[in-house]
Symmetry: C2
Subunit: 148 residues, 2 copies
């Protein structure tokens, strides 16, 4: 890769809100194959340290996928010649459980822009309706160019 103008700036933000229902969590159990009872069995979950069904971490990360795509779209609309794709995540921490019915907000803030490499690093977080942080970490977008 020979770099790519991203047309994004440090400090730019994207935000996306969504409430994950018990049905959403059950649907993700089907998609992922993870039918762990803490995610799908209310009676079992009531006997755990959490007391009720919790969402899969990867499902909560899905909301960040949406904010990353909002940034990608801006980059393309502003004229970037590359395709921005998710390159990875650093130091993701699930700091509080997410319960069915929690009104979540995913936030994405660009912290570094490297046009020479075609790359951005961004702080990501997901907070619940009480304003408590459930997930924090860093996301990396990389711009890929179509083969010549």
């Amino acid at each position: 890769m020979t770099g790519c103008p991203t047309f994004l700036s440090v400090g730019e933000r994207a935000e996306f809100g969504r409430t994950l229902s018990a049905a959403d969590i059950a649907a993700f159990a089907e998609l992922s194959g993870d039918h762990d009872p803490v995610h799908v069995d209310a009676a079992f979950a009531s006997r755990t340290a959490f007391g009720r069904i919790i969402a899969h971490g990867a499902l909560v990360m899905g909301l960040l996928s949406t904010t990353a795509s909002m940034m990608s779209r801006r980059s393309v609309e502003r004229g970037s010649p590359g395709t921005p794709v998710s390159a990875g995540y650093d130091r993701i921490r699930f700091t509080r459980p997410v319960f069915a019915g929690d009104a979540l907000t995913a936030r994405y803030v660009i912290e570094e822009v490297d046009d020479a490499r075609g790359r951005t690093r961004s702080r990501v977080e997901v907070v619940n309706g009480a304003g408590e942080t459930c997930l924090v970490g860093t996301h990396i977008l990389a711009w890929v160019r179509a083969p010549a």
Copy 2:
């Protein structure tokens, strides 16, 4: 947290195989809110560097959720008094795109066990049917005890 016996050992492995269909990717777009055309619009995707629809990274990470839950279950079945939960991921990298129809295998190998903290660190990876690595990283499980 005052630590917790995990009853897991360095070198233990879990593996889970699944083929993600275009319908699975579309279903995850609904769940996550990420309807980026690279994930749901075949005509658009054909004009990107990838040439066809790719799966969301968070959906691919869902397969690792299943392997982590396989480990959690072993821990509980062996008598751990805690509830193992996903604490986070370090240095996740999406090294190749995942396409609809790819026969994926998720692999989970325990690399560190810390009973004093009630924590394990594991190498995670997802490979496609050609044996190519699509995702690598580290997953952290933490054992939580019910309040006394």
